[in-house]
Subunit: 134 residues, 2 copies
């Protein structure tokens, strides 16, 4: 199946370009939703998240790759972007290089060095399939 | 079925007590998650959201009442609370009184008066069933 991408509305692109917190929703094996704050990056085509290959969210997206994320503008909580999408692939990140890239993007208070669980790090590569914004 | 409530960890209760934005995840009829920023209130037992009876999220929770919400501390985005729960009931709010209560709680920039869609307003009454926090 070819997944059709959508274009994110230009006036909301800054919410993906800035190092804001995305609330990523996934679906658990019992059908219940789960949602957690996450770092992300955006390259104009894909949204990427760092995660590990042994935690719940990894099991969720491996079994069901459909996700959604919500971002608000910290300066105006009534301005927001929701992106629904699909985890198109999960890349290995065994040296934690992408984690470090995000830690730099977010100016992480604990520094930008590979995490203790680097060997288990993976990258969720999400293709946007729908957006809603206000 | 009796739904068992959980106790929200005391050191994270402020995230429910303060007028912060919750990102509410629901599951759509095709099984995909949806997540949007929402006002809420907390009375020590239930989390309540204002919504309308004609939009997608209403259809989602009517068909599948299992939800999750994520809240971060604006002063520290690495401090967060996730509450999973069930929409135990949906109350009518035909005068928009609960909407006004939330508009006051959030000091809404557009004022605290009943919305144009007051007649269609409803209240999602969510019982927490699990939490995760950090």
């Amino acid at each position: 199946m070819t997944i059709q991408s959508v274009t994110v509305p230009g006036e909301f692109l800054d919410l993906l370009e800035r190092p804001l917190i995305a609330h990523l929703a996934t679906v658990r094996d019992d059908g219940a939703p789960q949602v957690n704050p996450m770092w992300f990056s955006w390259d104009g085509e894909y949204i990427r998240f760092t995660h590990t290959n042994f935690r719940r969210k990894y099991r969720n997206v491996t079994a069901n790759p459909v996700v959604s994320l919500s971002i608000v503008d910290p300066a105006n909580p009534y301005r927001y972007l929701e992106v629904r999408g699909v985890v198109e692939r999960i890349d290995a990140d065994p040296a934690g290089a992408f984690f470090v890239e995000l830690a730099e993007r977010y100016d992480a208070p604990f520094g930008a060095t590979p995490p203790p669980d680097a060997a288990a790090r993976v990258i969720f590569v999400v293709r946007p399939t729908a957006t809603s914004a206000h």
